[in-house]
């Protein structure tokens, strides 16, 4: 029972990280119709940057915020490359995000080398009845809930959030009422970068990151995003947590090496099932 609870909490915490990455993917996809293949890179960049800033003596909190802002800036740059030229087809933009991701690899190797880096998160355990829970896990869950609560309020209660939804719903009509759809897309990329950055700074204390950690993070985030139908960021929370828990259980009760295959298998199953009805990525367009 104790092992099960431990796997469960670990899975929920890691799944929250996946959900943060997925929410960034969904926001970018909704506004621009572009699947951002550089999404995992934002998390890696923020994780590596936070580790360096903490090494340089910056206090916790400030280092993570600066690292997240760096990821948001990377998101904006990715957006400029991918959709900055008006009329760029989403498929061309997708390839552009792949290019930015590969450039990110090179940049990260030149700055941080190829060795994994990490930093200490929140230390200590919290006693819950007979169980002990790492405070870092609780921090991840808390941060994720705050972020998703903020996203929900932003999209449901603010005029700017509604304008973003309008761009996703009908870009032509959005242009006709005066909304700058490309600017909104760039904002979507920036927000997506920030969400990837938050995922990076909360997950790095659990698992060291290196330049090539972006692909597993992307695959897990993408699996959570398509579990949510690439539509609602909030649904990605459920998708991410379900995936995180499933992976933790597989790693705990079966074999750790099967864990990384789970998201890929899940992606394949969902995409094949959707493609059987319609082209997979157009499902979310409806």
């Amino acid at each position: 029972m104790s092992a099960f609870f431990s796997y469960l909490v670990h899975g929920i915490a890691v799944g929250c990280g996946f959900a943060l990455i997925a929410s960034g993917l969904i926001i970018i996809y909704r506004v621009t119709r572009v699947v951002n293949l550089a999404q995992g890179m934002f998390a890696v960049l923020a994780g590596l940057a936070a580790a360096s800033l903490l090494d340089a003596g910056l206090p916790h909190g400030l280092a993570e915020v600066i690292a997240t802002l760096a990821a948001a800036t990377a998101g904006l740059i990715t957006g400029v490359v991918a959709i900055g030229k008006r009329g760029t087809h989403p498929e061309a933009s997708l390839i552009a995000t792949l290019g930015v991701g590969i450039f990110g690899y090179a940049l990260e190797i030149s700055v941080w080398g190829d060795q994994p880096r990490s930093f200490a998160g929140l230390s200590g355990q919290l006693e819950l009845s007979d169980f002990q829970v790492s405070k870092q896990y609780l921090l991840i869950i808390f941060v994720t809930l705050v972020v998703f609560g903020g996203l929900e309020l932003f999209f449901e209660r603010t005029y700017f959030g509604k304008a973003l939804t309008a761009c996703a719903s009908n870009p032509k009509a959005a242009r006709l009422v005066g909304i700058e759809v490309t600017r909104m897309g760039l904002f979507g990329f920036t927000l997506g970068g920030a969400l990837g950055g938050v995922a990076g700074v909360v997950l790095t204390p659990l698992s060291p990151v290196s330049y090539d950690s972006d692909m597993p993070l992307f695959v897990n985030g993408f699996a959570a995003a398509i579990l949510a139908g690439l539509k609602q960021p909030v649904l990605a929370l459920a998708g991410g947590v379900a995936l995180g828990v499933a992976e933790a259980m597989v790693a705990g009760y079966a074999k750790a090496s099967y864990q990384s295959s789970l998201a890929l298998v899940l992606c394949l199953v969902i995409l094949v099932a959707q493609a059987a009805r319609r082209p997979a990525l157009q499902v979310a367009d409806q």
């Binding site: 005029y159 509604k162 304008a163 939804t165 309008a166 996703a168 719903s169 009908n170 032509k172 009509a173 959005a174 242009r175 006709l176 009422v177 005066g178 909304i179």
Partner: protein, 222 residues
Amino acid sequence: MIAVEDVVVRYGSATALDRVSLTVGAGEMVALIGANGAGKSTLLNAISRVVPTSKGVIRIRGSFAHVPEGRQLFSDLSVDDNLRLGAFRSGDRQTAWIYELMPELERVRKQRADSLSGGQQQMVAIGRGLMARPDVIAIDEMSLGLAPKIVQAIARQLAALNESDGLGVLLVEQSARVALSLCSKAYVLESGRLVAEGASRDLANSCLVESAYLGSPLEEAT
């Protein structure tokens, strides 16, 4: 005020508009009629800068709103949100006056736009255009798919706004009967070229318009 002068729009090698000129003066109600594919929507899209022009000049004095063909609502959002987003440029997001103008929308204000009937959706689309507080509103295929009773109701509202606020209207219609009855001036577009223009009353009696767009009463009835 809108002034379109010798505008040419090309899609690749195809010419969609060929030296088209048109004006909508302040407080004027103007109809643009023509068959499907004549270039009417292209002209509106050119005025809205949605499609680029190859030649010619388009001048807009004052504010302009475009209600596109097919309503093009934000289907994920409520009626109220759709209307408020219409004010993205003007900034005045108070929707009460639209509900006064179109009381039928008030009871569905919280509903998603895609759950409405065709007539209600058309009202939302026009209401969203009006929220921009335009000097001229261009409406593409206002009557398409709507019952005559609803078309008449919307037409009455537009006429009332024209009368009270001096709203200019550019009405793009396949249904020439509706357009000519509502507007004082009309243009006839055929295969991307203007083939006739003048007072609606005169055009309604012209052989060209009568035979091509108005048909016999029997045809209209069927």
